[in-house]
């Protein structure tokens, strides 16, 4: 790995500490963190093999035998609801015989998963239920050991299914730390259970994955980058004088959140002119019911405040003008693949659902009025890095005050955990 010209402290030797330099009023990240193939290899081993990663949502596999295929931490897996146990299983998508993938469609319902190569067949609990010409094997072969391989750890929190390749990782709830309370707040605001809406945004960016970590929880860029989105809101009657006001919180373990007021409407229960007069009674009804259930103060947070939350390392749950669940993985130092879903209350009133869908695709979607410009910004940063000359990114904003929503405290929370993970030399690659 390339060593840097001016390590902030010559005594520091850890990979993370070489790349993340913190001083009392200055916080810097070395651009090698975004450009080096060696760093990416290190991240795969130290970060993606040892932290909890988002797989999917339980509503996506509601019925026994329902399955979805996912790439998690760069590895093809599939999540299936077991026909017998009704529990969610997350399997490595590979036949225990000679390796071919056994789940070959993105989603569906199946009683069994048959490897087409030699027709070994597994049930939805992973048990090897069929082997052609079983007589050809000795009588002592342990067939049960040839069941589909579950990922080392699988746990879910309120419908969000995570897995970890490290069997010794702390439990999911302990890992989520302060992010748990924010997930509770977001999920409690729904009158029913939440579900993932049908339709996935699967897009890409020619930029390092950590730039999207920063961008997903960045309030500072909104006004400058998203001028055309704000013009769109104004054209539909939104009053921008509210501005963006709020705070940032370090939630522990690298997780962080911004919580703030913003001019746009929220399908949770904040009406705005662009929702249309017709939607006003339903949105106000939702708000009244929140006040009844949770009291004025918590109802205000649920209805009026926006939250951009990072769950370390690569899950974003943004509860803004719509609720998005977004995860992304690097395929190269300068390339990532993003999958984003929209979350909504089950059996939502059709007019509110329509506003939610509109809000999502106009701001969050890769065909909308904002996300393409984020992509342009992050790709532009990545291109700028290759110009050289400038070695460090500056992430110091707001270090000397109570963090505000357009400061960078939430990014520093991510980078500190990243530094800690990258400093660890005891973490091996998981099989």
């Amino acid at each position: 790995m390339t060593l840097l010209n001016d390590p902030p402290d010559s005594l520091i030797t850890g990979t993370g500490s070489r790349l993340v330099a913190e001083e009392p009023e200055r916080f810097r990240v070395h651009r090698d963190a975004m450009t080096s193939p060696d760093i990416l290899t290190d991240e795969q081993r130290k970060i993606f093999d040892h932290n909890w990663l988002y797989v999917g949502h339980e509503s996506e596999v509601a019925e026994p035998g329902d399955y979805v295929r996912r790439k998690v931490g760069g590895r093809p897996l599939f999540m299936v609801r077991g026909a017998k146990s009704k529990q969610i299983n997350v399997f490595h998508n590979s036949c225990t015989h000679r390796g071919a993938v056994v789940c070959r469609q993105d989603q569906g319902n199946a009683k069994v998963f048959q490897c087409f190569y030699h027709a070994w067949t597994f049930d939805s609990e992973g048990k090897l239920s069929g082997v052609p010409d079983r007589d050809a094997y000795g009588g002592t072969l342990d067939w049960d050991a040839l069941r589909l391989k579950q990922v080392a750890r699988v746990e879910s929190y309120r419908g969000f299914v995570f897995c970890c390749y490290d069997p010794d990782v702390v439990g999911l709830e302990e890992y989520l730390a302060g992010a748990k309370d924010y997930l509770d707040l977001i999920l409690d605001a729904a009158p029913t259970d939440m579900e993932i809406v049908r339709g996935t945004n699967e897009y890409g960016m020619d930029a390092n994955w950590k730039l999207l970590v920063e961008n997903s929880i960045d309030g500072y860029h909104a006004v400058s980058t998203h001028d055309t989105y704000f013009k769109y809101l104004v054209a539909l009657g939104t009053d921008l004088s509210v501005g963006v006001k709020g705070t940032a919180h370090d939630l522990g373990n690298g997780h962080a959140v911004l919580e703030y007021e913003a001019p746009w409407g929220r399908p949770v229960a904040k009406w705005e002119p662009l929702f249309g007069e017709d939607a006003k009674p339903s949105v106000e009804g939702l708000r009244n019911s929140l006040v009844e259930r949770f009291g004025e103060e918590r109802a205000h947070r649920m209805a009026d405040l926006n939250r951009n939350m990072l769950i370390y390392p690569n899950l974003v749950v943004n509860d803004i003008m719509a609720l998005t669940v977004r995860t992304f993985m690097p395929t190269a130092p300068n390339r990532m693949e993003i999958s984003a879903w929209e979350m909504a209350p089950r059996e939502e009133q059709p007019d509110v659902r329509q506003r939610r869908l509109d809000s999502f695709l106009t701001f969050l979607g890769p065909g909308g009025f904002a996300t393409p410009d984020d992509i342009e910004a992050l790709e532009s940063c990545q291109q700028g890095f290759s110009s050289g000359g400038v070695e460090w990114n500056d992430i110091s904003r707001g270090m000397t005050r109570e963090p505000e929503a357009n400061d960078e405290a939430q990014m520093r929370a991510f980078w500190r955990r990243w530094r800690e993970d990258m400093n660890r030399d005891d973490l091996g690659a998981m099989r």
Binding site: R198, Y232, A235
Partner: protein, 164 residues
């Protein structure tokens, strides 16, 4: 007000679709809008749900006429960073099939390839169009355009900031 359906030839339909392609390639979006009726819709479903219904499912683009106009205003602005400067575009439209009229609408299917070249990167969008055409004041106009992408994800193209 609704004119009775009139039969059209494939050549008339192709003239309209090729004209649209030319306007998009030339970034003459204000004129492009005039090809659409006041009650028009432009929809691009997500790549994993080509049958996606914008009323219930997450799609990539779901524009009514107002949002089409605002999209054009955005793309005409220097603040649409993803498209400033504009991509070079080339819309190729082929395999045009004119269906039997349904009410006052003429359903049309066509295939397309759109090349987008910008900043050293060339990407390709491939798929099919479903148009619903109507006659307005003696002219053939577009009331609906639905764009079904064949790519299994948007990843090879990164985003869809352009009009397909």
């Amino acid at each position: 007000m609704t004119a009775p359906p009139r039969t059209v030839t494939r050549a008339e339909v192709e003239d309209l679709l090729f004209h649209e392609a030319e306007l998009l390639d030339e970034w003459d979006l204000d004129t492009w809008l005039t090809l659409y009726t006041e009650d028009s819709h432009y929809v691009v479903p997500a790549t994993d749900t080509p049958d996606g219904n914008p009323a219930t499912d997450l799609v990539l683009i779901d524009d009514d006429r107002l949002r089409m106009r605002l999209r054009v205003e955005r793309l005409n602005s220097r603040k649409a960073h993803r498209e400033y400067p504009h991509s070079r575009l080339r819309h190729l439209v082929s395999n045009v099939r004119v269906r039997e009229p349904e009410g006052d609408e003429i359903p049309v299917r066509a295939n397309f390839v759109v090349w987008r070249a910008r900043n050293g990167k060339d990407v390709t969008f491939v798929g099919s169009y479903e148009y619903r055409l109507v006659h307005r004041d003696g002219e053939l106009r577009i009331r609906g355009k639905r764009v079904m992408l064949d790519m299994t994800s948007l990843r090879p193209a990164n985003d869809v900031a352009i009009i397909l």
